[in-house]
Amino acid sequence: MYWGGNPAECHPRHFTKYTLMQKSKFLPRGRKDRTMVLVDIRETKSAKASDIFLQVRPGKDFELITILRAMIKEQHVGDEQIAETGMTREVLDDLVHRMKSCKFGCFFFGMGLSMTRGKHMNSAALLTLAAEMNAFTKFVAMPMRGHGNVTGADVIMRWQTGYPFGITFNRGYPRYNPGEFSTVDVLVRGDCDAAFIIGADPGATMPQPAIEHLKRIPTICLDPHVTHTSNLARVHITTAPQGIAAPGTAYRMDELPLPLKPALKSPYPSDEEVVRRINAAIAEKPFWLAEGSQPQMITNQV
């Protein structure tokens, strides 16, 4: 089940390589052994590939997920409540039956779910539905990730700090609080007084107040191109594009690490090299906390 995403246009090989077409030991007929459901507010190109297309009213995803959570447990749901989401009882009864009787179900959810009314509450509701479905059959949920290696960023931050994003080290140890430490909020409130941007172009994607703040403070930008962010930054360094001229590792959206095989020899240094050199230059300067007030390592404690 794809929810609020358009893989046909945004992840073109998702169907053929991973979800629909592949033949396997338990699904020897490939596509014929699978059912694909698409939930979206618009009939996108992906609808053509689906067996069932459910057009949900804009902003009613949370309601629809909650109704499904009730229906799988055979709790009462009113007709008006179903009508509010743009669905009918027959369609949902059929869907619930299919979900319960499948051998292995998977939700892939995109920005149409996680970035519209309800935001992360929508994602949380869908994850709960997937968890609850495991009372009947095997069910999982996975976000459809965009941009190359965002998954890698999550994995690396989790590995190094214990949290996936929205972290601060301002007390000397990592703390996590999205909404307080997430970048859009930090920039819109004007909290930070310098920014180091790598492999992203907030100058083109962030809301205007956030961009205004990036212009006010010293911004440093690493990118293979001179981007919108580079134009408002104090310092821009051109780096080799990952996977084309820079070697390394990237994570697939299901968290499988894959090695990159760069073809070209770039005249620019890699991101890794530049960041390492900046770190070395920072290490030569005095530490930001006064001597004696530095966080103690566990091994030094009595």
Partner: protein, 115 residues
């Protein structure tokens, strides 16, 4: 002219990270990306090894990489609450260095995921 061929190269344009692409290249430019989809083909063919941009810019003026690195270190070190952000279009190795940087600076650390 014969082109070099790389089998099972990895495309990092979207989250699918297809690792079965065959690239035909001459170290300056990629001419063919077999098995890649439209988006992936555009990604591979649009990058070249030419020097299209200056090495580095400080306040809009061209600079060497070393100058830019020193300047970046100074600005970040001077700040009371620096922010390290992005890390989408880069390798895990570089991401790890970014976490180290945030740790060293007592900085905020965040990726695209929070958007």
């Amino acid at each position: 002219m014969t082109l070099q061929v790389i089998d099972n190269a990895t495309c990092t344009f979207c989250g699918c990270v297809c690792d079965d692409i065959q690239l035909h290249h001459d170290e300056m430019r990629i001419y063919k990306a077999k098995k890649a989809c439209v988006l992936g083909t555009a990604w591979f063919l649009n990058h070249t090894a030419e020097k299209k941009y200056p090495d580095a810019l400080i306040d809009g003026k061209e600079a060497t990489v070393e100058e830019a690195i020193q300047m970046a270190a100074t600005l970040l070190h001077e700040a009371d609450m620096p922010l390290v952000y992005g890390m989408s279009n880069t390798t895990c190795e570089a991401q790890k260095e970014c976490v180290a940087m945030a740790d060293q600076l007592g900085a905020l650390l965040d990726s695209h995921t929070s958007l």
